[in-house]
Amino acid sequence: MKLYYKITLINALTRILIVAAFLIFTPSLIYKAAVGHTDDRLKNMKGQIVQKIDTKGIGEFLQEEDSTFADYTILKEKFISIEKVDSLGKDTFVTSQRDIESEILEFRILKHWFTYHNTKYLLEIGESIQYVRDLNSILREIALYLLIIFITVTVVIDLSFMQNLLNPLRKIESKLLATKHPEKFDFRHIHTTTTDFKYLDQTISEMMRKIQNAFHIEKEFIANVSHELLTPISILQTRLENMLEEGTLNEEAEQKIIESQRTLGRLKQIIRSLLLISQIENNQTPKEDSASVAELLKEVIDELEVRFPEKNISLEANLTDDYTLSPCNRSLLFTMFFNLINNAIKYNKQDGKIIVSTVRDRRQFEVRIQDTGKGIATENLQSIFYRFKKFNSAGEESYGLGLPMVKTIADFHGMEIKVDSILGQGSVFTVVIKTDE
């Protein structure tokens, strides 16, 4: 989830919580306050009545023969009652429901016991607090609407404010997303007044500069190494060629020179391959072509056909499914498929078989190269793509760079290489090209 939505969501949630608490607790607080206020009034009234009885006598309320007296105000919101009782108690406040003319009303009542002329009386003074309940439910309704409006308004304000506030972060994000390679990084600073974002932007830029620097050093190193290594080889190669051209050597010496040339050729091939791998890894090779996979495979097969008779190998090509790679580096892809199919020949058995097939799926395109060769032991499967690992090529001309090259080229094109192999039965190399992008 985006930071922007997260912050807004948290803000909204805390507000809802506060509002909920408000809605839950205010009614009881209001109720408590109202009751306290009523109690004070009741106490006051009690004092007045007690004083009246003291000065004017109980007769004001109660005749000799009567045992109870009750009086309501016209609107029934207050009442006074006096009755004779057998025992005394302490002054208490109670809340109770009274049925008055078939209407249930909530009353707050002060009970006061007293003795008058040796007779015990209970005085009850009541006041309706029904209005508190009614008020509360109205208040709750109004508050609910107001708060819904409040939350909506603040969330909207939050969203637009956050959007502005987090805009620099989004810019940094899109800048990074657009940077497929450190070489392509946009160093222009992002305009912001938030120091955190400024710091982040600067730090990323600094890091990118360091990475670019490292890349440049590496590039220079590759260029220098290639010059330093290839120049002496050049001298040796031309010198050996000149020696052969002279034609003055005896046959034995000639043979030795030919062998030296072969060795030199090997050295040359290794260095060139290593350099190419480094160049690809450093993004120094172009990626501007467009190529049909089936066509490339046909070309590679045409190129390698001459080798089939050596081991009487039969090749089956199922290339009906095709996919156009763009952008790509055609000659690198040629090298990749060449190395894979060449391996399938090189490590195959006499009268072996090779199946090259293309399969188009909904989300991916696969090239499968299956052989009936020596296979690769499970414990070696992980390391076949490492440089200079070689397992079963005794007597073969291989320098252990064919598969690392394949892997590097596949990575360069965002492809995946999978290997399945059964020792002694053969291997299947699968190039997986994602097509859903």
């Binding site: 052969l244 060449f338 001309e397």
Partner: protein
């Protein structure tokens, strides 16, 4: 044919010079960019063999200068830098060919011959080869009225042997020639033997091909008087 070799590595210059002299070229050398730059303005050359990795000079600048001062000269860039960028830039600036170090001397002279053929027009595009007609421009081979279909590699080999006729070409030299653009592929020199075998078979249907000679342990020679 006057050739200026611009190369800071003296031993390499010596070998290239020795080889080209034997091939009949008149050679001059420059070990620094400055020296080369001066010589280009003074002397007319037919060929400039330019090393891009000179310590005192930006090699590509020399290509520009040479194009100004010595317009007749054909330029072949020799470099160990091996970056495709350089190659494209060099050719864009007007270089005629590009050869990555380490290169074979035979390959160098073949490229020079190809440039000469291209520049000075083809007096005869079709070469007579023991009854076969080899068209180097259209890359085809015929025997009388029959066109013989050769693969790209087979034709490359035949052409290379023909250009360097009466000379032993090693397997290594042939391999490097036909794989020039993809030297990094996992090739081995056994391919050459197979290609030669197929080439002999295809041509042999019409006439005996004893003029492609196998030189035991070394390579092949195309004999043509």
């Amino acid at each position: 044919m006057n050739v200026l070799i611009v190369e800071d590595e003296k031993s390499l210059t010596k070998e290239v010079q020795a080889f080209l002299k034997k091939e009949g070229y008149v050679c001059d050398v420059a070990y620094t960019g400055k020296e080369a730059s001066e010589k280009i303005y003074v002397n007319p050359y037919d060929f400039l063999l330019l090393d891009l990795g000179l310590p005192d000079y930006e090699g590509l600048d020399l290509v520009k200068e040479a194009k100004e001062a010595n317009q007749e000269a054909s330029i072949i860039i020799l470099t160990a830098r091996g970056s495709t960028d350089d190659k494209i830039k060099g050719l864009d600036l007007g270089a005629d060919d590009y050869l990555a170090k380490p290169f074979s001397l035979l390959e160098l002279s073949s490229r020079m011959q190809a440039i000469i053929r291209r520049k000075h027009g083809l007096k005869k595009s079709i070469t007579e080869l023991h009854g076969f007609q080899v068209d180097l421009t259209n890359r085809s081979v015929a025997f009388k009225t029959n066109v013989i279909s050769l693969t790209k590699k087979e034709f490359d080999i035949l052409q290379y042997l023909l250009i360097n006729k009466n000379r032993v070409i090693t397997r290594m030299q042939l391999t490097e020639h036909i794989w020039d653009n993809a030297l990094e592929v996992d090739y081995d020199s056994n391919y050459v033997d197979v290609h030669i075998k197929n080439l002999r078979k295809k041509l042999g249907q019409y006439k005996e091909v004893d003029w492609i000679e196998t030189v035991r342990g070394i390579g092949y020679r195309l004999n043509l008087l």
